[in-house]
Structures are given as structure tokens and as C-alpha cells.
Symmetry: D2
């Protein structure tokens, strides 16, 4: 996941910064609707980080396992994807 490491880290740090801002908004009793929009924005950044991680995972770990891995290893990768897609498509 080398290539995407920096981008994912940057997204996660952005989300952490947003979350700090959201906590301050709650402490300072800011308007709920504004807080809600900020949470949705932070949520979108997290989801983008997740998307990048999963896409990098497919293109490196999964693809690697399929080209060189044993049947057990590829089957395990498939089961992990089954579980992840189960969560993502809820």
C-alpha cells in the first residue's frame, strides 16, 4: 500500500482535524445543524479514506495473493472481501 499510504494518512489527518473542530463546536454550544453538516463532511472524508484503502488492498494484497498465493490464501482473501462487502452494502 506504499503508493497510497501518504494520501490515506492525509485524509485521516484531515478527518481528525475536522473532529477536533466538531468537538469544539459542541463545547461552545454551536448550532446543531452546523455541527451535523460538519459531522457529515468528516464522515465523507473517512469514507473516502476507506475507499482508497480498499482499492489499494485489491490492487496490491488481493492481486498479489492471486498471482502467487496458495489456494488457502486466495480463499481467505475472498472471505475477507465477502465480509467487507457485507458491511459496505448494508
Amino acid at each position: 500500500m506504499q503508493a497510497d499510504y501518504k494520501r490515506v494518512t492525509k485524509l485521516l489527518k484531515t478527518a481528525r482535524g475536522q473532529l477536533g473542530g466538531i468537538l469544539r463546536m459542541v463545547e461552545e454550544d454551536k448550532y446543531c445543524v452546523d455541527i451535523s453538516h460538519q459531522i457529515l463532511a468528516c464522515d465523507a472524508v473517512l469514507r473516502r479514506a476507506n475507499r482508497e484503502i480498499l482499492q489499494a488492498h485489491l490492487e496490491s494484497c488481493v492481486q498479489g495473493a492471486f498471482h502467487s498465493g496458495s489456494k488457502e490464501e486466495t480463499d481467505a482473501k475472498i472471505q475477507e472481501l465477502v465480509e467487507l462487502i457485507g458491511k459496505l452494502s448494508k
Copy 2:
């Protein structure tokens, strides 16, 4: 996808039945909130059908390609999953 064909078909027929009911509710000018709950219920059935299809896809098509397919074929499967996960994790 043989094994799951019946279950997916059943889920999709359930969703189609729900959608017919929803259309009648709109025509009969039923209460919007009740219509909304029915749409969310139909949506949940569709998502479950999608989950079943993707899980069957992983366990048959993708797994099959990895055990017997060419590099081009497995790379194509990976790219399809990258695209799908991009949509699912939005």
C-alpha cells in the same frame, strides 16, 4: 451463481411487490411518512439482494478466475471490484 439464484430472485420479487404497493400508496394519497418507511424497507431488500449477488460473485466468478484464469482475467476482476467498492463505500 446457481445456489443463490433462487434467493436473489425471491428478494427482487419481494422488492417489486413492495414497489407496486408503494405506487398504490402514492396514487391513493397515503401519508408521506408511511410511504417513506415503505421505500426504506424496499431499499433494504434491494441492498440485501445486491449483497447476496456480490458475495456469490466473489465466491464463484472471482474465486474461479483466480484458480484458473489468466493474469488479464484476474486483473479485470480486480478492476471490477475496485469500481464496485468505490460505489458501495460512497
Copy 3:
């Protein structure tokens, strides 16, 4: 919901048409990934119909209750929204 009735009906009929197409794809044993993309497209139409219904609901029923309704009526509207938002933000 008069103004939006036609648009919602049209969206729901579009979704029903898509669902019929998806059922045929499953019967004809089309490629799972193509079926999945169609389900996601149908899902997006359903969600748009739901969005339109809820927005019309807010601008007619809820707004109406607030301008002319009793405290019981407005409280009931609020509770319905609390429940709906609970489902939508899952």
C-alpha cells in the same frame, strides 16, 4: 404533496421498470457485476424518490401543522421526523 406527486410517481415507475429489467437479467443468468450495478442504479432512484417525498412532507404537512396545528399535532410530527432521521442516518 400535489406538486411533487407526478415526479415521485415517475421516479417510482422508473425504479419498477429497472427492477423488472434486473429480474430478467437474473433469469437470463447475466453477469453478476452488471446486475449489481443495475441494482445500485435502481437503489439511487428509490432514494431520490424518498428524498422528494420527505422534502414535500416537510414543506407541506410539517409546515402546515406548525402554522395551524395543535401542540399534540406538532409534537407528533416531530416524533415522526426523529424516527425517520434515525433510519436515514444509520
Copy 4:
């Protein structure tokens, strides 16, 4: 939002703690699938915080505006909800 202030703050702090852990996992080059599950868990906490904020908003700010506010104020509240529901039901 007094009553729910503590619960929302607690949820947001939980999410911030999870996010710190996720950043460490990325730095330590942990397995992508495990990172993805942690992001989804953090995402679920954020969504719950959002749900709590919106429900408190409905039961305090919106309900308050409707019982004592001017037409302009209640109309503004409605428009905010229309916009929020537009985002939530995407």
C-alpha cells in the same frame, strides 16, 4: 441540547480515539482489511453522534421554534431540515 450534550461529546471523543488508533495502524503498516473495519467502526460512531444531535435538534430547537417562533423562523427550520434530509437520504 443540554441533556444530550454529554452523550454526543462522549461519542465524538470515542471517534477521535478510534481515529488516532487508525492513524497508528496506517503508520505501522497494519493489514488494510483490519484498518478498513476500524474506519467503518469509527464511521458508525460518527453517524450515531449525528443521529443524536439531529434528534435533540428536532426535540428542542425545531419544536421550540414551532411553539413560539415567527413564521420566518419556522420556515427557516423547515428549509434546514429539507437540506439535511437531502444529504442523509443520498
